[in-house]
């Protein structure tokens, strides 16, 4: 039996398109015979009356009211449709779906979102500095995702920011966390930065990308909580820039009551900048952990705890220790099937900092490496006999191609060549998960593994996965897929590099 239900919304205006779309949506619902959403003018009320959808509630409407009038097969269908209409009208769904704000300029964006205090700049590098300056002049903090910003521009922007109590993150800042919100390439940490409310709240200052990601992942895996991760860009601590953003970050974090301790992750700073930064860190009034790759011990500053690598930094910050495997024994198991002629190592990295960290660990283990992005102690020369650690995210691999974190196929040809190379003993890989990364980075690696025909004599493949269970790709799914294909998966990049070093040393 037909039921008529009306609702009147006093003084409610909605544009015609939204009204008609909602009207059509409701009419298409099951059990709805007729649905009309109109302003309650006498003429429209007459139309509703003639259409048999008006009841006494609707009759009371004025020309400035919206009338929702329904005729349905049964009361429950009518109520369901009415609930749908109300939800659409109240939830703003109609508004946002008609024309979501798409500002074309920073100024326009700020007008649309006046509460915003940060601009993320991701334009071609040529235009990034100009946009960043505009953002700073509008009073916004800036994260420059773009690269190819000159040193002079970087320095000028950071000076402008510091004069105005703002911060510039980047250029080439691929990762950041602000108030535990991941920006750009970042892993999804547990809600609210991870773990329990009483966990020590850590803020990290890092160059730009996978170093911060690996630290954030390991810290939260160890029960720590990351409140902020500020990417200052790879050149910030050079003497040319003078650590301007790092200094601002220290000021901000020192005064942030939601930060209990500060972690600095970086390459060795320029000598002048090092003094400024470490003195400021030591005097900031909060515990500080510094993970400065290849830092000479005689330059360490009292009051700062120094970490040798990212795992160590996470352990110092959390007070917990990451599980260790018996590297020696595991290496023995892995070398058992390797022919004696296999002596070389190749590392195929998508993350720049992870690539650097591996070189340092291998060098520490007495293994000389070459790299297209050489860390201190490594060589740039690419000799046939050397152990090679390749940063596949470097410009020479990414010009005109997507970054390997986004497109794992970029690594495939190098990986398959290495699998076929009878001199290679170990292939070392990183697999980076998180927002912005490929939806299934393990897949391409697994496919390559499955194509190896000689299953008895093949290189050992060792990988680490930088990710969390909250990441869109899922940590355990990626780990399981790699393990099932015969890859040894370690719980962090340090552990993977240490295991690779042990395998090479046992083969020598």
């Amino acid at each position: 039996m037909s039921t008529v239900v009306n609702e009147v919304r006093k003084g409610f205006y909605l544009d015609s398109v939204a009204l008609m779309r909602l009207s059509a949506e409701i009419t298409s619902m099951g059990g709805i015979e007729e649905a009309v959403l109109m302003i309650g003018t006498p003429s429209n009320l007459q139309i509703m009356q003639d259409a048999g959808v008006l009841d006494s509630t609707g009759e009371s409407a004025s020309p400035n009211d919206l009338v929702i009038a329904l005729r349905a097969d049964g009361k429950s269908n009518a109520n369901r449709a009415l609930a749908h209409a109300n939800k659409s009208l109240e939830g703003g769904a109609l508004k946002s779906s008609t024309s979501e704000a798409r500002a074309r300029t920073l100024r326009g964006s700020l007008t649309a979102y006046p509460e915003a205090n940060l601009a993320l700049i991701s334009t071609p590098g040529t235009y990034a500095a100009r946009e960043a300056r505009t953002a700073l002049e509008l009073g916004l903090n800036v994260m420059i995702f773009s690269d190819n910003v000159s040193l002079e521009q970087e320095s000028s922007l950071k000076n402008l920011a510091r004069q105005n109590d703002l911060i510039v993150m980047g250029p080439d800042c691929g990762t950041a966390y602000i108030d535990s919100v991941p920006l750009a390439f970042a892993n999804a940490l547990a809600p609210d930065g991870g773990n329990s409310a009483d966990a020590t709240r850590t803020a990290a200052i890092a160059a730009s990308g996978t170093g911060l990601q690996e630290f954030a992942v390991l810290l939260t895996r160890l029960g720590g909580k990351l409140t902020h991760g500020i990417g200052v860009g790879g050149r910030d601590l050079s003497d040319a820039v003078g650590g301007l953003s790092t200094l601002t970050a220290i000021d901000l974090l020192a005064n942030d009551k939601n930060v209990d301790q500060i972690v600095l992750i970086s390459k060795p700073p320029g000598p002048d900048t090092a003094n400024l930064v470490f003195e400021k860190l030591a005097a900031c009034g909060k515990p500080v952990v510094a993970c400065v790759f290849n830092q000479a011990s005689d330059s360490e500053v009292t009051g700062i705890r120094y970490a040798s690598d990212l795992r160590n930094a996470a352990e110092l910050a959390s007070g917990e220790t990451l599980d260790r495997h018996d590297t020696q024994q595991l290496a023995q198991e892995l070398t058992g099937s390797l022919s004696a002629s296999r002596r070389k190592l190749v590392g195929l990295y998508t993350g720049g900092t992870l690539c650097t960290e591996s070189q340092l660990i291998l060098n520490r283990a007495g293994i000389k490496t070459t790299s297209n992005a050489p860390a201190p102690g490594s060589s740039a020369s690419d000799s046939e006999t050397a152990h090679r650690i390749i940063d596949l995210g470097a410009d020479e691999y990414t010009v005109g191609r997507p970054h390997p974190m986004m497109e794992p196929l970029v690594r495939v040809s190098e990986f398959e060549q290495s699998l076929d190379d009878p001199s290679i003993a170990v292939i070392l890989l990183d697999v980076v998960l998180g927002y912005g990364a490929h939806e299934n980075p393990a897949e391409a690696i697994v496919n390559s593994m499955q194509q190896v025909t000689d299953t008895k004599d093949k290189p050992v493949v060792i990988a680490s996965v930088c990710g969390t269970e909250f990441d869109p790709q899922g940590l355990h799914q990626q780990r399981d897929a790699l393990t099932a294909s015969g890859i040894t998966v370690c719980n962090c990049n340090v552990a993977a590099a240490e295991l690779a070093a042990e395998v090479i040393n046992q083969q020598s």
Binding site: Y13, M20, T41, N44, D50, K95, S99
Partner: protein
């Protein structure tokens, strides 16, 4: 608070600002309606069309404002809901484009027919897209709109020899008839009224103005009423005035009819025709169907004008 600037405002919007403060009564993504005393104006983003009740600003999105938020206007600064502060010092008062009048020596014929055909074909094409064609669906609203347009043509616009225009009482059913902020019926009436002003039909205009002032307030929404009141002053959005001017230019150039030489066709007729087509298209695109129905109103007057002029000649 975001600082921005007012670019242009209409004369009736200025009256609202003169009240110094009021409330926001409706919020859309790109515009809001402000009340001041009994008057309303529409404040919007840069792409908002100029018009008598409109205020164009450099703001790009207004959806952060809420119905009931207050506005104030002091020292040439317009503050909206404590979110936006718009400087009005460099703003321009919008004025109607200079009117192009119909030539007294008008030679009716192909030019009139050409314009009517052009508008009808555009309405037909758009009607299929917008589902606004009477008879296309069984919608009671469309049937009603069709009925009232016929009533306007046969009654209001058929004054007989005395040229005494009379609004049939039944036409109040067209006020507030249809969806949206400015119901289709109001848009049709607005088109008729502005065309009456434009084509110098003062008796028709006077009669409609008197009738609208008596009946519109209680029969339609306050937002639509604000636009109708502006129309009673002979003012509407600039797209409409621009289109009417181009229409008049085309009709005044009756020498440039479709039977002209190939040279004339190429050099003289086509540029005017294409400008006119563009202006019609711009008007039709205004709102969801506001521009469309306004053009329907203009067409009614144009046909009336063609009929009377042809009869006289």
């Amino acid at each position: 608070m975001i600082r921005s600037a007012v670019l242009e405002y209409g004369s009736l919007a200025q009256i609202v600002l003169n009240y110094k403060h009021g409330n926001i009564i409706a919020v859309f993504d790109n515009s809001v309606y402000l009340n001041g005393g009994d008057s309303l104006c529409c404040l919007g983003v840069e792409s908002l069309v100029n018009g008598p009740v409109n205020i164009r600003t450099r703001l790009s999105n207004l959806s952060a404002l809420r119905v009931g938020d207050t506005w104030s206007y002091t020292n040439n600064r317009l503050t909206l809901g404590q979110l936006y502060n718009c400087d009005n010092t460099k703003a321009r008062l919008w004025s109607l484009p200079a009117k192009v009048s119909l030539s007294r020596t008008l030679n009716p014929g192909p030019a009139f027919t050409d314009c009517i055909t052009l508008i009808e074909s555009r309405l037909l094409a758009e009607g299929h897209i917008r589902n606004t064609l009477p008879g296309v669906t069984n919608s009671l609203t469309l049937q009603r709109l069709n009925y009232y347009q016929t009533l306007i043509a046969k009654s209001l616009l058929s004054p007989g020899e005395t040229e005494q225009y009379t609004v049939p009482s039944e036409l109040t059913g067209l006020l507030g008839c249809g969806d949206g902020l400015t119901p289709a019926g109001d848009d049709i009436l607005l088109g008729v009224l502005i065309a009456a002003f434009h084509f110098d039909l003062p008796k028709l205009a006077d009669c409609l103005v008197t009738w609208l002032k008596q009946h519109a307030e209680i029969n339609t929404s306050q937002i639509s009423y604000a636009h109708l009141l502006a129309a009673c002053e002979g003012q509407a959005i600039e797209h409409l005035h621009a289109m009417l001017n181009l229409l008049t230019i085309r009709m005044n150039r009756s020498d440039l009819n479709t039977e002209g030489s190939l040279k004339d066709q190429t050099e003289k007729v086509q540029p005017i025709k294409s400008q006119l087509e563009q202006a019609i298209g711009t008007l039709i695109q205004h709102g969801h169907s506001s521009g469309y129905y306004t053009l329907c109103g203009v067409l009614l007057v144009l046909k009336h004008l063609a009929g009377t002029t042809l009869k006289k000649s």
